[in-house]
Symmetry: C2
Subunit: 209 residues, 2 copies
């Protein structure tokens, strides 16, 4: 059995990453969602090991010391990180693992796991992105300006992603994402067991003739 | 419009490359087949510009001088080559161009056109390859041995290909090949116009807010 693929999904805020990942997970069996660890408290309805692995600050720091994270960061007094063990165990079992993460985190993961595949999700154009950002609740000029500012920064990261997913139509976008993962499974670099076996068996046949 | 993709198809003799390419061309509209030029004479039923572009040796050598070939080689007293003009014109028109070519030719093309995508077609295992070779007409031991020898050499080239297409079931293999080409179209490197436009328009919006 070949190893699964680590599928990293980033993109513009407002590009519909969450909905896309959710639809992909519902439609196809072979994906596992990477679950982050955090030191923030569980909110009502959240379950340990489902939304997050909830850790104390001491536990989290110990995990950092042990190298148990693929990447971690601190936001607003809390730590967030991607535990390595769960991801590696799922990949080894042949499952494709989805990791939804912002651009800097994605780069850190790619450095540690270069066989990961990076996707950047984007609306079909800047106007659509602006419209989606404006529809996100509050519409005061400052908020929209700061969201656009963030979009400009996110745009600078696009070139570091291997695949661009234009999220015009959710259904199509799910199919495209899944199709790309299937294509990645066909990469010769991911089929080394087959390549070696084929070469060895042909040698055996040659000697037998 | 984005440029088309140059799809290079190589693989084991007996892997079913020709049938695969034919089925792909019949099923999907967006592919053009690269037509080789040759100095050998047209056989009955062959048409200039369909099976081959038929050239005199002087014409062919002039084309070599002009750099009109992506690659060319001489086999058994005749020249064979891939004319650059047709391929480039089709790619510029947004069409995906299929080039069925042996391993050494494929490497020459990749050197000249690094954005080409290389596929290696293989039966599902060495036993199947041996069976297919044995079914190809004559069955004397020498012929089979020399075919297996060639297979061993071809196997050494597999790692230089980006994608491995296991041709177990023709229908599935056509779909997989087509799916990979669609995935390749989503590569950020092939979407530079979109990436630049998005970044520019977001900047304009920022200034406008």
């Amino acid at each position: 059995m070949n190893s699964g693929i680590l599928v990293i999904v980033s993109g513009f805020s407002g590009a519909g990453k969450g909905t896309l990942v959710k639809a992909l997970m519902e439609r196809y069996e072979n994906y596992s969602l990477s679950i982050s660890a955090t030191t923030r408290s569980a909110r009502p309805g959240e379950e340990d090991g489902r939304e997050y692995f909830f850790k104390t600050e001491d536990e989290f720091k110990e995990m950092i010391q042990e190298g148990a994270f693929i990447e971690y960061a601190r936001y607003v007094n809390h730590y967030y990180g991607t535990p390595k063990a769960y991801v590696q165990q799922q990949l080894a079992a042949g499952r494709d693992v989805i990791l939804e993460i912002e651009i800097q985190g994605a780069q850190k993961v790619k450095q540690q796991m270069p066989e990961a595949v990076l996707f950047f999700v984007t609306p079909p154009g800047a106007t659509e992105l602006k419209n989606r950002l404006e529809k996100r609740g509050t519409e005061d000029a400052d908020t929209i300006r700061s969201r656009l500012q963030r979009g400009c920064e996110e745009a600078k990261g696009m070139d570091q992603y291997e695949y661009l997913l234009v999220n015009d139509d959710l259904e199509k976008c799910v199919e495209t994402l899944h199709g790309i993962v299937q294509a990645e499974h066909c990469k010769t670099a991911r089929q080394q067991r087959f390549v070696r076996k084929m070469a060895e068996e042909l040698q055996v046949f040659m000697k037998g003739e």
